[in-house]
């Protein structure tokens, strides 16, 4: 298929994906705003005022980047996981499989949809946070690059999950047992410098640490990890997950008999 035709197919998948999450905005865009407001009120305002400073800034300022990142991770992942699995479940994935759409186009379309949703959620949560704490931006482009790379990575991970999933339960297991622990232990609510040396070393195996810290560095200029190292790790994870997703879809795992 020519480049122009592939772009038409890509645009089609992306618009379809965006239409899907916008159609059910009450389920996709509103919950993160409510959850994050509760986090800001309880952890930031009520408890945070008793904690004092962390990383040289107020606790509220410290957790805001992490909470935005948490929303980005959750939404990018769940958007692609549930949309792709639904397409498998309803068998409308066959609409794409019978057409000359390349594997690359399918991945980019679905991931693009997940990234779009998570970026909208990121903006919503950032706006909500600005009611609690003044928005402080130190490195704008670092924020943009980090949020896009993170959203892409978790959208790809959601796609891989959906490829293997056979039931709707299978797409909620990973978020519950893997994503949530990684995010909560990923330095959203604390600086890893507070941990004993051993747990600091263990924490460095958690990819979320790098995303949260690079993102936080972009906002408040404070990070537990060098921002460039963090970006390097993010790029590496993206490449690995893209290769995995491409290989699975190209071989038709979970979608062709």
């Amino acid at each position: 298929m020519s480049m122009a035709m592939n772009l038409t197919a890509l645009r089609t998948i992306w618009i379809k994906e965006c239409t899907r999450f916008l159609r059910i905005w009450v389920q996709t865009l509103v919950p993160p705003a409510i959850t994050m407001t509760l986090y800001f009120v309880i952890f930031g305002n009520l408890i945070g005022s008793r904690i004092g400073e962390m990383g040289g800034v107020s606790y509220m300022e410290f957790i805001v980047p992490g909470l935005i990142m948490m929303s980005v991770i959750t939404n990018a992942y769940s958007n692609v996981a549930s949309s792709f699995f639904s397409a498998k479940f309803q068998r409308n994935i066959e609409e794409m499989l019978v057409a000359p759409v390349s594997t690359m186009t399918i991945i980019l379309g679905y991931v693009g949809g997940g990234v779009a949703r998570s970026l909208i959620v990121a903006v919503v949560v950032t706006v909500v946070s600005s009611f609690f704490v003044p928005l402080n931006i130190q490195h704008f482009w670092l924020i943009v690059v980090t949020v896009i790379l993170t959203a892409t990575l978790f959208a790809l991970a959601g796609l891989v999950n959906a490829v293997f999933a056979k039931t709707f339960d299978d797409i909620s297991i990973i978020p519950t047992f893997v994503l949530t622990p990684l995010t909560y232990l990923g330095g959203v609510f604390y600086s890893i410098s507070l941990l004993p040396q051993f747990w600091q070393t263990v924490s460095q195996a958690n990819p979320v640490i790098y995303m949260v810290n690079a993102f936080r560095y972009g906002f408040i200029g404070v990070s537990d990890i060098n921002a460039y190292v963090a970006l390097g790790v993010l790029v590496l994870f993206n490449l690995v997950f893209f290769a995995l997703a491409w290989s699975l879809l190209h071989r038709g795992v979970g979608i062709r008999s």
Binding site: K16, R20, E94, E95, V98, P100, S257
Partner: protein, 310 residues
């Protein structure tokens, strides 16, 4: 003549060891209206799945309008429009979204896709429903939606897997008219169906598939000419003395219904003569089963007996 579809020695072994296709050969010429018949589990859907690249083949060669499935997959896909057996569209999307998106997957620009959507949805009586969500449509409308969706990229070969399953007679006949029309406009059609009347009415050529092999591949006329004995049901005025019938096999169903097997070379006249001689009044008469149905059952049984004896 250009071959729309050419399949050679096609084999499919599913994970778990089930051999669904055992070296299937099939050729369908351009412009044909071809029926692919077979009992459940014969391999029809697997064959269609492989042609439309939803199922990976184990061995064999598939060519669509000369394009090879292994080396020219994108070209093969562009030639084919698929109407699957089960509804496989997103039930939450609108009718128009479904068809326009499908065109988009084939690289048809959105503006052109919308024009074609209007054309095909109008032809299939769905234009008024274009903004309705697919799940709100009736069964017949959903079937027609799948036909419209398969036509949006204007394929040369349309494959329909049980297109009229669960559709009422009136709608089925309107779908037949539509399929006949697009076939006359040059689209090659391959159809699987359980309604043998449908195959007999629509199709010029026929392939019967059983246990993963083609057991008959011929023209509908030739196949029907093989039918030697037809069973007729006679409704008679109620009688007290059972009639007798010389030279025909006859079964009495009750005191006013007879079933008579009529060999082609003997014809019906003699049946009427014998009934008239016995003062039986014939009120009406009909074929017991569809002619093709009888042949189909015979052929599948013959094939199975031959294999068993081997």
């Amino acid at each position: 003549m250009t071959k729309a579809l050419e399949i050679k020695s096609l084999r499919k072994v599913y994970r778990g060891g089930l051999e669904a296709l055992k070296g299937l050969d099939l050729t369908v010429n351009e412009g044909d209206f071809y029926a692919l018949l077979g009992p459940n589990g014969a391999g029809k859907s697997t064959t269609i799945g492989i042609i439309s690249s939803l199922v990976n083949k184990t061995e064999g060669e598939v060519k669509v309008f000369g394009y090879d499935l292994d080396t020219q997959l994108a070209d093969v896909k562009r030639q084919i429009g698929l109407v699957p057996q089960e509804f496989n569209f997103n039930q939450f999307e609108t009718v128009e979204q479904i068809v326009v998106n499908q065109a988009g997957y084939y690289g048809v620009p959105r503006k052109l896709a919308k024009e074609r959507a209007q054309k095909y949805l109008t032809q299939l009586g769905l234009w008024d429903k274009r903004n309705d969500r697919a799940r709100t449509l009736s069964g017949g409308m959903k079937r027609r939606l799948m036909i419209a969706r398969a036509l949006l990229h204007e394929p040369k070969l349309l494959i329909l897997d049980e297109p009229t399953a669960g559709v009422d007679i009136e709608l089925r006949r309107s779908m037949w008219d539509y399929l006949t029309l697009i076939n006359s406009q040059g689209i090659t059609i391959i159809l699987t169906t359980h309604y043998l009347e449908e195959a007999e009415t629509l199709c010029r050529n026929i392939g019967i598939i059983d246990k993963g092999r083609i057991i008959e591949n011929t023209s509908m006329k030739l196949l029907l000419s093989k039918l030697n004995v037809e069973t007729f049901v006679f409704d008679l005025e109620p009688y007290s003395n059972s009639p007798t019938m010389t030279g025909f096999t006859m079964r009495e169903l009750d005191n006013h219904t007879l079933e008579v097997d009529v060999p082609k070379e003997r014809g019906l006249n003699n049946v009427f003569e014998q009934l008239t001689a016995q003062n039986m009044k014939v009120l009406s008469m009909r074929n017991k089963a569809n002619r093709l149905e009888e042949l189909f059952v015979d052929l599948v049984e013959q094939g199975r007996n031959q294999k068993e004896s081997v």
